[in-house]
């Protein structure tokens, strides 16, 4: 039998027609549609990756000097306690921000889903921070949280609450950055989970209600398991995004005080554009990309084992 789309192309006899072993479907014309995109994507993503890996074995000053150093850059970082400390900061930020954003976003999604009125307005309001660029968010919060000129400490003083130095001290800087990221990105979690909640089938909930299940039980045994694939997707997206944190740190603390908020991306930026050690920066990014890949694989493996029904 000839498919309708095969008739649409006069030269379809030239197309590869090998059937997929699992689905039994022929790739047919589809490969011609996605081929150019695949080639462009391959070049634009494979090229930087290979280039970075190659250059990480050199000592390149972004000028005329290009010395092959083998794995020296890798050994230097992997044996440097400061590198591990900065990796720790990045993970601290990621765990903190993703946890708070997931819990807050899920809670908001459930509450707004049950409201039944004004959902459009609430969603729009919650989405506003998402529309602001990272560096603007950083500068805005830097001003708001300034201990001397900022309005937050002023308001806290008005109601006799303790103030903070926010970004200005090692102990409070990272929590402050997590706070800013939470303000900025919780809406993303909310939007995705909200859409997920609305797509859940109602029958199981009605059956549970008939059987006398409480709201908490319905959430624990119905909502959460059915939502878990979406939760996992959001978790992966937010984790990758938070591991790549740059703009908020760059715009507020610059990695300080001392190195309390230095993250992998700010370290790589500083190494490349301030110190002009391009190869070292690429080494950092290769190591960091492998770490991100490992974390995503762990998540995916965890997701495969988690029952969704």
């Amino acid at each position: 039998m000839v498919e309708y789309w095969e008739m649409a192309i006069p030269y379809n006899h030239l197309l590869p027609m090998t059937r997929n072993r699992k689905t039994g479907r022929k790739p047919g014309v589809a490969i011609w549609y996605i081929g150019p995109a695949l080639i462009i994507m391959g070049i634009t993503s494979v090229y930087p990756v290979i280039y970075s890996i190659v250059m990480s074995f050199f000592n390149w000053d972004w000028g005329i000097r290009l010395d092959f150093v083998g794995i020296k850059n890798y050994v230097m970082y992997l044996t440097d306690p400061v590198f591990w400390k900065i990796l720790g900061h990045t993970i601290y930020f990621t765990v903190g921000a993703v946890s708070v954003e997931l819990l807050l976003g899920l809670a908001l999604a459930i509450i707004v889903n049950r409201l039944g009125f004004g959902m459009g307005v609430i969603r729009t309001l919650l989405m506003l921070p998402l529309m602001v660029s990272g560096i603007i968010v950083a500068l805005m919060w830097k001003i708001l949280l300034d201990p001397t000129l900022g309005i937050v400490n002023y308001l806290l003083r008005l109601v006799s609450l303790p103030t903070s130095v926010w970004f200005g001290a090692a102990k409070t800087a990272m929590p402050s950055i997590i706070l800013v990221d939470t303000w900025w990105q919780t809406a993303f979690v909310f939007i995705v989970l909200s859409a997920g909640l609305r797509s859940l089938p109602q029958e199981p909930f009605e059956a549970a209600e008939v059987d006398g299940a409480s709201s908490l039980q319905a959430f624990r045994y119905l909502t959460l398991p059915m939502l878990s694939p979406i939760l996992l997707t959001v978790l992966i997206f937010r984790t990758i995004d938070c591991l790549k944190v740059f703009a908020i740190i760059f715009g507020t603390t610059g990695g300080g005080p001392e190195i309390a908020t230095e993250a992998m991306q700010t370290l790589a930026y500083r190494t490349a554009f301030k110190f002009l050690f391009l190869s070292r920066s690429m080494t950092l990014m290769v190591i960091f990309s492998l770490i991100i890949l490992a974390i995503v694989l762990i998540y995916l493996r965890f997701g495969e084992r988690t029952p969704t029904q």
Partner: protein, 462 residues
């Protein structure tokens, strides 16, 4: 079979493209074309008429100063100017990319005359200006390079200390590190007494902070972990260093050899410690304060004492940007046991090696930095580098007399803060970390001993 062939062809195409693109390319070596023309009777400003040059500038007061006069340059030379200004953070990245581009991006650019310029020189990215200065057909007879102090020129002469060194940048504005103080706060908290010594300054700043109840602070310094604080910091260390030489390329940080850091010298320890003490007398978030934050706090009347770039002075007398107009005092750094000394840092103009219009670019640099135009442009910065400009009434009458006196005094003892070492900024961050350690309570001698070991590790590669 057809699928395999199709995939193999795709893979080959991708692999070839990737390999071609990955092949590392050396940056082209700078090339200065000799100019071969007969010397005219008068200087020929129209020689490159019809050309168009691109200026890659930092959004800096000097850029504000030159902007209204660019039409005069275009009328004089017939050269069209395309000005591309960028905010400072972005500018630095844009500049590093522009000078490394295979194709010309800019013909004149704002040149930080420190290790940045030296690193670009070492990488062959910047064109020498000496050939133009030595060519009477390219440089007007009244240009007078000697009017720029030798110390200023030294920041752009490479290789440093070499008899055949060439000049790679013309200074456009300098900043000496001086003391700004808020007269109202000094009157209110200190009975109007200006500290005479650095120890008095620290004590006075602490007194204001204690009595200010979080509303005002005695001092503010750049405290962020960034190489941007390094020049101000060096100025304060110079104040403890005294009159002993600070020879380039090593400056005070090395004893004539990159393998011999000397940060455990008691004078350096004292200087770094003084800086940390001023940070402690400042707002509690001082470790997240960069120059713009510190400048803003002082301009809003929240700070009694502020040590930083003289460049900030003129803006404090502008009611549009300052709440302390007419209330600011200007002074050289209060003396230590070694006297009152300071440092300076320069912005210059340079020509990227990849520019294809170097001659027209040099015409712009020459015009913007000659004796006629520098005083006009310099009023925007208060940091004109030509000696003659400080005797020019167009310039001095536009500035606060107390400011002029303080800067001129500072200039008399000022030395360059630059260090000409590739990768200097990595070491600069280590020095900044050392100050942060002192701020955090580490004993200054211990902090500089730690610093000495870290610097040795970098410079000896061990």
């Amino acid at each position: 079979m057809k699928t395999k062939i199709f995939l193999i062809i795709n893979l080959i195409i991708i692999s070839v493209l990737v390999l071609v693109a990955c092949a590392p390319k050396a940056t082209p070596t700078p090339e200065t074309k000799p100019v071969e023309t007969a010397a005219p009777a008068g200087f020929d400003w129209k020689r490159f008429s019809g050309q168009e040059i691109t200026l890659l500038f930092n959004e800096h007061p000097w850029t504000d100063g030159v902007r209204p006069h660019i039409q005069e340059f275009e009328d004089l030379t017939g050269i069209k100017v395309n000005l591309q200004p960028f905010a400072e953070d972005l500018y630095f990245d844009k500049m590093e990319l522009a000078v490394r581009s295979d194709k010309p991006v800019a013909d004149v650019y704002f040149l930080p005359m420190d290790s940045t310029a030296f690193t670009q020189y070492s990488a062959g990215l910047i064109a020498p200006l000496t050939p133009y200065l030595n060519d009477p057909t390219m440089t007007a007879a009244d240009y007078d390079l000697a009017d720029f102090p030798e110390g200023f020129q030294a920041s752009g002469m490479y290789p440093p200390g070499d008899a055949k060194a060439q000049l790679y940048g013309i200074p456009i504005t300098f900043e000496a590190y001086i003391l700004f103080y808020n007269k109202d706060l000094v009157d209110k908290y200190l009975g109007g007494k200006i500290p005479e010594t650095f120890a008095d300054l620290i004590a006075a700043a602490n007194k204001v902070t204690q009595e200010g109840n979080g509303e005002v602070y005695g001092a503010v310094m750049r405290g962020i972990r960034s190489d941007t604080i390094m020049d101000t910091l060096t100025g304060v260390v110079f104040n403890s260093w005294g009159t002993d030489p600070t020879p380039l390329p090593y400056n005070i940080w090395f004893a004539g050899d990159w393998k011999k850091p000397q940060v455990t010298d008691p004078r350096i320890t004292e200087g770094l410690s003084n800086y940390a003490a001023m940070m402690k007398a400042g707002p509690p978030n001082v470790q997240s304060i960069d120059w713009n934050d510190a400048n803003q706090l002082f301009a809003q009347g929240k700070i009694a004492f502020f040590i930083d770039a003289s460049l900030f002075g003129p803006a404090y007398e502008n009611a549009e940007t300052s709440a302390v107009v007419g209330k600011v005092g200007y002074a050289p750094l209060p003396k230590t046991s070694k006297g009152s000394m300071t440092g300076h840092w320069l912005w210059g103009l340079g020509i990227p090696a990849n520019s294809e219009k170097k001659e027209a670019a040099w015409y712009f640099i020459q015009w913007a930095t000659n004796k006629e135009n520098e005083p006009k442009i310099g009023t925007a910065t208060g940091g004109a580098p030509r000696l003659s400009t400080w005797g020019n009434s167009v310039y001095t009458q536009a500035l606060n007399p107390e400011y002029v006196a303080a800067v001129q005094t500072a200039m008399a003892t000022s030395r360059p803060t630059a260090v000409f070492y590739e990768g200097w900024k990595e070491i600069a961050i280590m020095i900044v970390d050392s100050v942060q350690e002192m701020y955090g309570g580490t004993d200054p001698a211990q902090a500089t001993e730690n610093l000495q070991q870290k610097m040795l590790k970098v410079t000896t590669g061990q």
